[in-house]
Amino acid sequence: MRIFLTILFSLITFLGSGQTITAPDSRSYVLNTADQNASGFSLSGFNSSDILLCAIGLPTAPAGTTFYFTTTTGLTPASGYTMTGNKSRIAFTGTMANINNALASLKINTPATAGSIQISVSATVNPAGFFYNPTNGHFYRPISSGTTYTNARAAALNTTFKGQQGYLVTITSADEDAFVFNNVPQTNIWFALTDELAEGQWRIDAGPEAGTLIKTSNGQFTGNIAGQYNNWAPGEPNNSGNEDYAVTKWNGSQWNDLPNNFSCPYVIEYGTWTNPDNATFTDFYTNSTTHSNGPTLSVRFNVSTNNITNSALTAKVHYQPTGSATWTPSTNIARSMTLLGGMDVTSDIDTNRVVTNTYLSTISPGQVEWSYINLFNGSVTLHIDQRKVTMSPSLISHVSILDVYSGPVTFTSSNGTWAMYNIPVQIPKLTDGTSQFNSYIRNAGYNNYAFRCEVTMSQNREYKKQALFFNYSTSLSALYNNVVTVSDVYTAFRQFATQGGLTGTSNGTAFTSPIQYIAADVDGNGIFDEKDCFELLQHITGTQPLSASNLTDIIRILSRSAYDGVTSSSWNTVPQKSFYSIDLMDGVLTYTNNISIFWKGDVNMSHSPSQSGSGQINMSVNPVTMSMSLNSSTSASDVKASIISELIEDELSLTVQLDQAQSAVGVQFMVHYDNSLLSYKETKFTSVGSSTNFASDKGDYISLGSLITDGNSSLDNSTKYVLKFKTKSKMTNTLGLISVYPVDAVTKNGSQIKINIL
C-alpha cells in the first residue's frame, strides 16, 4: 500500500496543479491622471481555501506613480502596510477569490512624467514569518534574537528558503531601507555593511552586491560615493570604540556603526535578482505587464514566417526626418529569427520625436468661451475663436480639449471669426457628464457645446517616418538553399502542368495558396511559367549566383492583411515591397505591425503562415501527377530511360540509364524504396561534361537527377545512376521493393519534356 501511495503522490507531484497569474495586455495611460483602470491580473489554480500571500509592486515607474484598490474585502495587509490609500507597493494575505476581487478593482494614478509603468503581481501560499518586497522580489526573514554581527552573517548563509540561499540583509536603496524599517518590528538591526578590512572603507558584505564600496571615510556624508545608497545618522559612522559593523533603525530610521560584540537582531534576505519577474523561488508565481505613461512609443513587429529555425536576416531600420526625402539607416543588425519567425526589431526604431511644422492646440479650463463644438448629423466640428489662433489656422493638426478629446483634427475652413476643424470620432464625454471639467462645458443649444477655456498653441513633436528593410545575407542564402530544393522546383513544374500543360494558362487554383504564384514567379514578369522554374533550378543548383538580377530581391514583404488578401486571380497585381514603411506620424503611442515575409522560389510556401502543418515540402507527391505528360503516349521528343535491378546476396543494385537524352539539360527521377526491408547506401553517377548530379535520400525515396547549365552541352545516353541498397533480411527477390518514377526533363531553352522509362 505504501508503494502505491508513493507512486500516487509522485504522480500528483509530477502533474502539479497549474497555479498561474494572468496579466493584462499593455495599456497607454493618460499623463497626470488619477483613477485609471489597471485591472486584468488574476490568480488561478491555487487551492481555494489556502491563505495566499500576494504582493503588488511597481518595479519600473515614473516617480509619483501609485495604485490602489476599490475592493479589499477579506484581505489582511502584511506588516507595515495598509489596504487603503495610494501605494507604490503592497503585500497582503487572503484567499484566491478575495485577492482576485481586489485585483479586478485595481486603479492607477499617473504622474506628469512620461515613461514605462511596470506592474508586477506575485503570489504564493503564505509563508509565516517571512516578508516579501514586491519591488525587488526578495523575501526577508527577521530574526529577533540578538547575536553578534559575524554570527548573524554566518547564520544567514546557512539558511535556505524556497530554493534560495539566505544572506545577511543588504540595503542598497532608500526603497529597501524603508521596506526593512516598515516591516521589521525590531530596532538596531544588523545589515551587511562593514569597514572591518579598512577603517572608513564601508563595503557591502553579503548578497549579490558583496564587495561594493559605498563610502570611503567616516562621517555622515563624508566619503559617500555618488550613486551608492547611504543613510547614516548624524555624526555616524564614527568608529567610536572600534565600530566596524552597521545597524539600521538606529534611533529612528538611520544607520550607525557598532562593534561586533553588540547583540542585535538581524534580517536574512533571499533572492539575488532585481526584477521580480526573474524570481526563481520554488512554488512562487509572478507575472507583470509594462504599460506606457504618456507619449512613450512602443512598436512591436509580428513577422510571420513559419518554420524558420536557425537563420538570420539583416534587418535595417531607416528613418526619414520630417521634410526630407532622405532615408537614413539607423541600424543594420542581423536579427535572429526564432520560433515561428518572430523577430524583434523594436529596439531599432528611432523613438526620438522631432518638432514639426504643425501645431497642437490645447484647450484648457479658463474664464471665457473661446471655443465650442457643434454636433450635427454625426459630424463633430470644433470651432476656435480666431483671435486665439496665433498662426495660420490650417497649421493646427491636433487638439487637446480638456479631458474629452486628444488627437488629430482636419482644418476645414475659416470665416475670419471662427476657425473650423473636423474631429474624426464621436466624443461621448462632451455630453454624458463624465468629464471632470464638466463645469467648464455649457450646452448652448442647437447641438452646440461651448468651452470656457484658454487656447494655447505648441508645435507638434512627432515620430519620424521609418521603414524596415529586409536583406538576405549569407545565412539567408544557406537557408534558401536548404529549404528550397530541386524537388520544390519540380513541384512548381507539376503544378504548372496540372493547371493546363506547357501551353496552358498560369492563372488558376493549381497551388494550394495563391501567394505561391508570387513566390513562383521568380523573374517577376507577372506570369508563372516554365522559365521561372528553370531559372530557379539554375540558381539553387549553384550555377546562377544569388546576385542574378531576377533573384536579387529575394525577400518580399507584404502587410499581413495584404498577404492574406492575395487571390489566385489577383496575385500578379499585388504590389510587393522590399521594405515595409512604418508611419509613426499620427502620434499613436502603441503600434503593432503585422507583416509577412516570403521569398521567391518558395513555391511550397514552407514559411507561409497560411500553410499550416509540417511546414516542410510535401515530398510524397502523386507520381502520376508528377509526370509532365498529360497523355501516356511516347513521343520522339521524349527522353527515354531504362531501369533494372538485381539482388546479389544482401545487396540490391538498381541501374537507371538514359537511352535517348534528346538534348535534355536536366532530368529528375524519384526512386521509392521500402525502408522496412531495404537500407539505402549510395548512388554512383556517370554523366557527361560538367553536369551537376544530385541524389537526396528522403527516407523512403531518393530524388536524383542531373543538370547541365554551361549553355553548350546536354545530357546523353552515357548518363547513368547506380543505386545500392542493403536488404535487412534474407530475400529471394525484390520485385517492387524499388519503384522508379520519372519527374521530368528540361531542355536548354527551358522547355519541359517528358521522360519515358521503357
Binding site: M1, I3, F4, I7, N622, P623, V624, S627, S629, S632, S633, T634, S642, I643, I644, S645, E646, L647, H672, Y673, D674, S676, L677, D700, Y701, M731, T732, N733, T734, L735, G736, L737, I738, S739, V740, Y741, P742, N756, I757, L758
Partner: protein, 116 residues
C-alpha cells in the same frame, strides 16, 4: 503475500492488460501466375511460374495507365516451377502489367496485376 499482491496491483496499474498479437495469415500462393489474365496481390505476395530452362530472366512491372516501367528485376531461374514475391508498398498504381522475358527479350509470360 501482501507484498506480492501490491506488486501485482502496481503491475496491473502500469502494465494494463496483456495484448495478444494475432499472427497474420499469409496470403495463399498464386499458382502459375501467367496462366491467368489477372491476379490481385498484396504486399510480399508469393507467386509461382514455370520456366522452360534455367538461366537469366527479367520480371518487369509496368504501370497500366502511364505505360511506364516502374520496376524491373533480373532473376536467375531454374527449369520448371519457380517461386518469387512481389512487393507493392512503394507502388502507387493499382493496375500493373507483369511481364516475364528471357535473356533475349522474348516474352515468356504476361499478366495483369491488381494491387490490393
Amino acid at each position: 503475500m501482501k507484498k506480492a499482491l501490491i506488486i501485482m496491483a502496481v503491475a496491473a496499474l502500469f502494465g494494463g492488460c496483456t495484448k495478444y498479437e494475432i499472427e497474420p495469415v499469409p496470403p495463399p500462393i498464386i499458382k502459375d501466375i501467367f496462366s491467368v489474365s489477372q491476379s490481385t496481390v498484396t504486399n510480399a505476395q508469393t507467386f509461382n511460374f514455370t520456366l522452360p530452362s534455367a538461366g537469366p530472366y527479367t520480371l518487369t512491372l509496368i504501370d497500366s495507365l502511364t505505360k511506364q516501367v516502374i520496376s524491373r528485376e533480373k532473376i536467375y531461374g531454374g527449369a520448371g516451377l519457380n517461386t518469387r514475391n512481389i512487393y507493392t508498398k512503394t507502388i502507387q498504381s493499382k493496375y500493373l502489367q507483369l511481364v516475364l522475358l528471357d535473356a533475349n527479350n522474348n516474352q515468356i509470360g504476361k499478366t495483369t496485376i491488381i494491387t490490393k
